[in-house]
Amino acid sequence: MTMLATGKRPAPGGSTVSRPARSGASSVGRPGFAWALPATIFFALFALVPLAAVAVLSFTSWSGLGDPRFVGLENWETLIADPVMLKSLWLSLLFIVLGVVTQTPLSILLGVWAAGNQRNRAVLSAIYFVPLLLSSAAISVLWRALLDPNFGIPGQLSWLFGDGNLLGTQSGAIGVLIFVGMWQFTPFHTLIYQGAARGIPHVLYQAAEIDGAGRVRQFFSITLPQLRNTAITSIILMVVGGLTTFETVLILTNGGPGTDTTITAFYMYQEAFQSFDFGVGSAIALVLVVVATAISLVVVKVSGYDKMNSSLEGL
C-alpha cells in the first residue's frame, strides 16, 4: 500500500521565499480538531443521535401510530423471557463462528495460491472474483432460484441432495446460508490475503529454502505469521458482516423454518417492521449494538488492534 517507494518529496512552493516558522517550531503545524468535525458531526447525526433515540424507544410501547407510551422495563422483561431472542443470539453466534471457520482457511489458501504469478492463476482469480460483482440481494435471489427442490439444482442432483428440502430443515437452512455467505464473501477475503501474500518479502522464503524448509513448512512458519494482521482485519469484517446479515436471511429463509434461522439482526427487523413493535425492536437493536461492541472490543484487545501506531497499519 505504501507509496513511499516512489513518492517524491513535494516540490517546494514556487516561491523560494520561506516564511519564518511559527513560534520557533521546526515541525509543520498540527491540524486542529476542526478537521475532524464535519465527519464526526455527520456520523453522530446518523448513528449516535438515532442510537440515543433507540435507547429511549426501548422503554416505550409504540407501533408507529400515535405517540410512544413509556412502559418502563416491560420490553426488556419481554425480551428476557422470550425464547426466540435467546435463540437468535445463539444463531448469530453460530453464523459468525461458522462463517469465520469456513471462509478464513479457504481464503488464506486461495489467496496465497493466487498470489503466485503464473498465468493460469491470474485467469482463475479473475473468475473467482465474479461473485464480488453481485449485490447481496442479487446473490440471495439467485440462490433462492437455484435451490428450488424440484426445479433447481437439487432436483437434478437428487443423489446429492435427497428430496432437496434444504430450506425446510434447520441444519439445511443454516448450511445454505453459510454456504451462500462463503460463496459471496470468500472472493473478497481471498483478494485481501492475496494482496498481503504478495507483500511478503521474498528474502524470507529464500532464506527458508536455504535452510531446507519444504513448501508446507514455509507456509506455516513464514506465510501464516506474516498474514496475521491481515487475518485480524479480515476476521473483524467477517464478524461484523455476519452479525448484520440481513437481506440474505430475508430473501432466502425469511427466518425459517419456524424461527430456525432468525438471527438477532433479522429478529429486530421482524419485531419492528413486521410486528410493528418498535419498543421491543429497539430493545433488540440495543442488544445487537452491545453484542457487536463487545465482540469488537474482544477482538481489539486480543489483537492489540487499538495500539494506534503499530498494528493498525495493517488495515
Binding site: 500500500m1 505504501t2 507509496m3 513518492g7 518529496r9 513535494p10 520561506s18 516558522a21 511559527r22 517550531a25 515541525s27 509543520v28 498540527r30 491540524p31 480538531f33 478537521w35 475532524a36 464535519p38 465527519a39 464526526t40 455527520f42 456520523f43 448513528a47 438515532p50 442510537l51 486461495l110 495460491w113 503466485g116 472474483f129 465474479v130 453481485l134 449485490s135 440481494a137 442479487a138 435471489v141 439467485l142 432460484a145 437455484l146 426445479f151 439444482i153 437434478q156 490475503y193 494482496g195 521474498h202 529454502e209 494482521n229 491481515t230 461484523v240 452479525l243 448484520t244 437481506e247 427487523y269 419492528a272 437493536a285 445487537l288 449494538v289 461492541t293 493498525l312 497499519e313 488495515l315
Partner: protein, 272 residues
C-alpha cells in the same frame, strides 16, 4: 524464485472454481432460455435455443430507471466519503489533541453500530426533513455508515507518511492545510482509491436503507428492484436471472476497464 507445480493446490483451486462457476453458468445460460425450456430441462442443462426476450422483459420492467438511481446513490455516497474522510483521517493521524484520539476510538466503536439497529429513528429523521422517498435520503445515512471503515482504512495509509516528510514541509513554513493538500493527499492515493471502492460497493449493495426510506418506482434502486422482481414476477425464473445478470453489468464494466484500481483498492483493505 522457481516453483514446482503444486498439484494439490491445483486440484483444490479447480474444485473451488466449480463451486464458483456452476451457479454463474446456470445464471447466464438460464437467461437465454425460454421459461418452458428452463423448466423442462432443468438449470444445469445446456441451452438448446437462444432468446434475448428475458433481457427485454427485465429492462421493460424498469431496470433502466433502477440503474440510474443506484448510480446516483453510489456517486453521492462516494463523494461524501471522499469529502469527509480525508480531513478526519488527517486529524486523527496528525493532531495531538486528546479529542482526535477520542474521535478515533469513537469511529472504531462506530464500526460496531449496525445500520439495522438505528433504522427506526433514521426513518423518522429522514422523514422529518422531508427526504423520505428521495435518493438524498438514502445517500446520507448510507454514507454515514460507510465512514467508520473508510476512516480506519485511510488512517492506516496516512500513518505511513513519515515525520521527515512533514519536517520538509515545515522548512517552507507550510500550514496544516498546505501539508494536507500538497503532501498528505498525494501520498494517500492508494488509500483514497480503497475507500472509494469500498464505499461504492456498500452503496451499490445497499438494501436496508432503500427498503425503509423509499417507496416509489422513481426512487427504486437495483437491489430493491431484484427483491421485488422475485415476488412480483417470481414464476419467471429466466427473467429473474436476466435481471440478476443485468444488475452485475455496471460493476463488470468497471471491473473490465478499471480492473487494477478495483482489485488494488479492495486488496488495500487488508494492508500488508
Amino acid at each position: 524464485m522457481k516453483t514446482r507445480p503444486n498439484y494439490l493446490a491445483g486440484v483444490g483451486s479447480f474444485l473451488w472454481l466449480l463451486v464458483v462457476a456452476i451457479p454463474l453458468y446456470v445464471m447466464i445460460s438460464g437467461t437465454f432460455q425460454t421459461r418452458a425450456e428452463f423448466g423442462d430441462n432443468g438449470p444445469l442443462a445446456f441451452p438448446t435455443s437462444f432468446t434475448l426476450q428475458n433481457y427485454v422483459d427485465a429492462i421493460a420492467s424498469g431496470f433502466g430507471r433502477y440503474f440510474l438511481n443506484t448510480v446516483v446513490v453510489t456517486v453521492g455516497v462516494v463523494a461524501i466519503v471522499l469529502l469527509l474522510v480525508p480531513p478526519l483521517s488527517y486529524a486523527i493521524v496528525r493532531s495531538q489533541s486528546r479529542a482526535a484520539s477520542f474521535v478515533f476510538r469513537f469511529f472504531l466503536l462506530g464500526l460496531a453500530i449496525p445500520a439495522q439497529a438505528v433504522i427506526v429513528p433514521v426513518f423518522y429523521l429522514i422523514n422529518a426533513v422531508g427526504l423520505y422517498d428521495n435518493l438524498i435520503g438514502v445517500i446520507l445515512p448510507t454514507a454515514a455508515f460507510a465512514l467508520p471503515i473508510c476512516t480506519l482504512i485511510l488512517s492506516g495509509t496516512m500513518r505511513d507518511i513519515t515525520g521527515e516528510l512533514y519536517e520538509a514541509m515545515a522548512m517552507d513554513g507550510a500550514s496544516p492545510a498546505r501539508a494536507f493538500f500538497r503532501l498528505v493527499l498525494p501520498l494517500s492515493k492508494g488509500g483514497l482509491s480503497t475507500i472509494a471502492v469500498f464505499s461504492a460497493l456498500q452503496a451499490w449493495n445497499g438494501f436496508l436503507f432503500p427498503l425503509i426510506l423509499t417507496q416509489s418506482e422513481n426512487t427504486r434502486v437495483v437491489t430493491l428492484g431484484l427483491f421485488n422482481f422475485q415476488t412480483q414476477y417470481g414464476i419467471n425464473i429466466p427473467g429473474l436471472l436476466a435481471a440478476v445478470t443485468l444488475s452485475m453489468v455496471p460493476v463488470l464494466l468497471v471491473y473490465l476497464f478499471a480492473r487494477r484500481a478495483l482489485v488494488q483498492g479492495l486488496m488495500g483493505a487488508g494492508g500488508k
